[in-house]
Symmetry: C2
Subunit: 252 residues, 2 copies
DNA sequence: CGTGGTCTTGACACGATTCAAGCCCCGTGG
DNA sequence: CCACGGGGCTTGAATCGTGTCAAGACCACG
């Protein structure tokens, strides 16, 4: 986010009122006045799949919303051990109001487009616009719940349960209208990342992830469709296999 | 928190202006008007060590600040697997604005006293008092960072590193003025909980925790002082042993 | 002086990692 | 066109860390 080259020309940016992502972003509740201010300062920037958006330790110059693509926040120890701690989708907020430097790295898993604001300005606006502050609080509370659910996954679930958990999470992200779905047609999930990245989320090695996939295939929970996509014949069964008590949340 | 019996008589409650905890609580930035409203509706309630403050699934009637003692938030699977996901100290906020029912259980580790507000009223106040909202956002962002650091601990650290991590965390909580401490006098840490609870935080069994303590004693990182207290001859060394790159944060 | 809870320690089992080999697929260059 | 090389994936065998089960010690309390 600190590397804004090349920002798209402002004149070319789609206007906020037409923005599809706004309904679920920080700006969801912003009034006309606040929205106008955001609009005046927004910049779009894009990152190719695999690139790093923010390095740990970087000065945090920007904050913003994911417009398209999927990014990953991760925490890395000096000796190379890595733990992915957040999977960020369109509408999600990137940045950390109140901190000057990034603690975590952010990487683009797929191609990512961001709608960014200069951080200091955004923080000032946050103080003046309660609806913005309120919405951000709401989003951060959801992130906190997500992180806490994930802690259970990391701490107490087996490799198979973890693998299913992330699959379930991805299904929810990719099929927005799942809750009311009763039809029996197969769900399709695209795991978008490599086995290694998959393992980074679950604290598993790429070999273990691979083994779990073969087992899940053998047991009929998933069946390969494309290179990175699987069909899920029985989503309820997959949820069950993830060991979750609280199903249907889209959370871990 | 839903079980407020017996609330102390309101007339007997210490006034907010004299409150020691306020400096670090949600109400830290509240203006006189907001503070007066909070004061009018606050209730103190106490829970003995070991008791449950909120059960998962409970209706969330209250939100509030820990005045004294230490509590623990935890996530439990049906089959009994348990993961503690938050260690809450005086000043910390308990409750989840925006949700009607508790997702996690909260238990008192030591005797706990809470300063609580009726949740709906608190949420209404949150909308009207930007300083309150802003402060809560700040606190929740810190909680989020804490949870994410913890994910690294759970996912990627060894039993020894985890044990040291929690010890370091407890030291920071119990010795407020550690940052500028250069003196070589021994630090004392009280682990306040049982081996089992300790393990619930670290996703370890009580046996493993016990073994790690024995090893850490043998290696001179800790030495027993009382039943639940240890002296730490070399705090830097303990931090090093915790495997943290970012030391000195009081975080995991 | 027993009783129950907590802690320690040992022996063994098991799940995930590590190390290693080989496969598949795709892009590149001869 | 095919050979080559590399990245990602799969699979196997051995290893290691932590869990499980079990026994006994310690200590507070009735």
């Amino acid at each position: 986010m600190q590397d804004l080259t090349p920002p798209l020309a402002k004149s070319g940016l789609p206007p906020c009122v037409l923005c599809q992502v706004r309904a679920i972003g920080v700006c969801a509740k912003a009034d006309d006045n606040t929205l106008a201010k955001l609009e005046r300062h927004k910049v779009y920037c894009s990152y190719p799949a695999g690139s790093t958006i923010v390095y740990a330790g970087d000065e945090l110059k920007y904050a913003g919303t994911i417009m398209a693509g999927v990014a990953c926040i991760s925490h890395i120890l000096e000796d190379g051990r890595r733990q992915a701690i957040g999977l960020m989708h369109p509408g999600n907020f990137l940045g950390r109001p109140g901190k000057d430097h990034a603690v975590y790295a952010i990487e683009a898993i797929t191609d990512v487009t961001l709608c960014g604001f200069e951080r200091k300005g955004f923080e000032r606006l946050l103080l003046k616009a309660p609806e913005l502050n309120d919405r951000l609080l709401e989003m951060m509370l959801n992130e906190l719940d997500l992180a806490r659910d994930w802690m259970l996954t990391l701490g107490r679930k087996t490799a198979r349960e973890r693998t299913c958990s992330l699959l379930v999470h991805l299904v929810y992200q990719q099929n927005s209208s799942i809750k009311d779905r009763t039809s029996s047609e197969d769900l399709i999930v695209d795991i978008i990342m490599t086995r290694e990245q998959f393992g980074d989320f679950l604290a598993l090695t790429l070999e273990t992830v691979s083994r779990q996939f073969t087992l899940l295939k053998k047991d009929g929970f998933i069946s390969p469709v494309g290179k990175t996509t699987f069909a899920i014949p029985d989503f309820r069964a997959l949820i069950e296999e993830a060991g979750d008590d609280t199903d249907g949340d889209g959370l871990f």
